[in-house]
Amino acid sequence: MQRITIDPITRLEGHGKIEIFLDEKGDVANSYFQIPELRGFERFCVGRPVEEVPILTNRICGVCPEAHHLAGAKAVDAVYHVEPPRTAKLLRELLYSAFYFTDHTTHFYALGGPDFIMGPGAPVAERNILGVIHKVGLEIGGKVIQARKYGHAVVEMIGGRKVHPCTSIPGGQTKGITVEQRAEIEQMGRWAVEFAQFSLKLFNDIVLGNPQYVDLIKGDMYTHRTYYIGTVDENNFVNFYDGKVSVVDPDGLRIGKYAAREYTDWIAEHVEPWTYLKFPYLKKIGWKGFVDGKESGIYMATPLSRLNAADGMATPRAQEEYLKFYEALGGKPVHQRLTIHWARLIELLYAAERWMQLVTDPEITSDNFRTLPTEKPTEGVGIVEAPRGTLTHHYWTDERGITTKVNLIVGTTNNYAPIQMSTQKAAKSLIKGGKVTEGLLNMVEMAFRAYDPCFGCATHSLPGQMPLEITIRDSSGQVVEILKQSC
């Protein structure tokens, strides 16, 4: 087999690209998944007052600015060595729970769910939210719009704006909520819990009730035995906003938990010559290549990962679903990537229940929502769980609080190595003897869409059918076939 150099210098025009190399038999020898990268963010932040950075990082992502804002807010608190009062933390977590509710709803009904509800073999034109509505009923469309409306309303009340919040400052929040707003948020929260339960039931009936889907979900093609990480509270229950990051091995054994400031002891980044992206891995285990198993430091983030890395859910109904999940799938940890869709719905229910817990806390309407920082700023790390995975913001400043350095590990970055492995595995199953199975694009797309990846999403947002180009080369490097979707 000829050695081909892939040059990552070619600028990817907003779409993902997979290069597949066949061996002499026409089976897949290797595949390489490349995506566009946004560059210069750190440089852009340097020189600015550090409290601006959470507002700027908001703009990295048009889909989860709330996640960046809160990770940034926590990093800035850490930079100033200030602890926000309990009310501020309640408000931030309430905003975040409402955001999670909206985000997970949107993902399930508009992106991930259609693959199952319509069936992976359904024509592309039907595999979207409209297909779902036509199949399941018109009222679902209305509910999805309602869910989003409620979630955005809560974010706006607490965060100051519908999508890009701006109320977190060093030491807390710029404002609290009134008694009237609290009542409104509670009412919406009750609806949210019911909608989450409805969504789980839908998944149960349509997806788990279909043996073909169950085989797909449980099958080997989308399975990898890796380490898992996710933030947990002091009881080791899943928490999106605060806690320590739990790390478990492929057998489910917890190997440790780290606080935000300790992340550099745990996470390192590996470089490959064929892409600008770096691949995070567990330092204590080491980089052994794109392989599964206990000896390999590759780990995953995502909803599935969070459930695997925790001992349970902190709210009762979500906890029931958590137990059902593991019972159905044969115990912890679960390695089949398509179950991320199911795990996401369990998180949806938790987000709604948590919303209710927070909004009914007596201190939620207190006007003690800020502690004034008094210490000199230096350096700080903030970690939250973005829907796609653990999000880390690390800021350094001079003594005036002017930013000198920024490092971010965004949700999807944690999953670069698993995504590379999942797409390669799908390609290997589907291309044999030089024959490309129909539906390759689709099946490969399903492999990485389960991760709900966030690629350059702040800019030329990629089309809803992920724009993707797959180039297949034979053993001498000649292009055999190019498959394109939405590009």
Binding site: E37, R59, L111, I129, R148, C457, T459, H460, S461, G464
Partner: protein
């Protein structure tokens, strides 16, 4: 007739911010001239964008395009129906429905959405690097884009 003009893009990603720049200039022109025109700047696509258009009869979306078919700074006008999916830029997202699907969803739900959606697109290349500065070709296109939107709105 209620009209919304939406500048789409990311103001800290170089040329990706041109939609906002045009909308900001339009905002200045519109302020004293009309009650029935609203101008907004957004960084969303799909379902969120559809939700922002609820209640309007007409919408004008100003955004970057990356067709590769025109030199950077070319200003193009088209109706939404004429936009091929792969050029949809901000109008679609990897995390929710594309705009056309979102609009169809809204209409099926009986929500009031614009009958006319016009796109004013500016061809651009440098949209992957963090900067608040537009490249010269794209900066030079701003007055032309502003004029085009004014003409559509018939503001003197």
């Amino acid at each position: 007739m209620k009209t919304i003009v939406i500048g789409l893009g990311n103001p800290i990603l170089g040329d990706d911010g041109v939609g906002w720049k045009v909308a900001e200039e339009i905002s200045g022109l519109v302020l004293s001239k009309s009650d029935s025109i609203v101008v907004d700047c957004l960084s969303v696509g799909g379902l969120s964008l559809m939700e922002h258009m609820i209640g309007y009869n007409r919408a004008i979306l100003v955004d970057t395009l990356q067709t590769g078919l025109h030199p950077p700074g070319t200003v193009i006008q088209m109706q939404l129906e004429d936009l091929p999916d792969q050029l949809a830029g901000h109008l679609v997202s990897a995390h929710d429905a594309n705009l056309k699907t979102a609009l169809q969803l809204g209409r099926e739900m009986g929500v009031e959405l614009p009958e006319q959606i016009t796109i004013v697109g500016i061809e651009a290349q440098h949209v992957y690097d963090f900067t608040e500065v537009l490249s010269p070709d794209v900066m030079a296109a701003v007055p032309q884009a502003v004029q085009l939107v004014s003409d559509i709105l018939q503001i003197v």
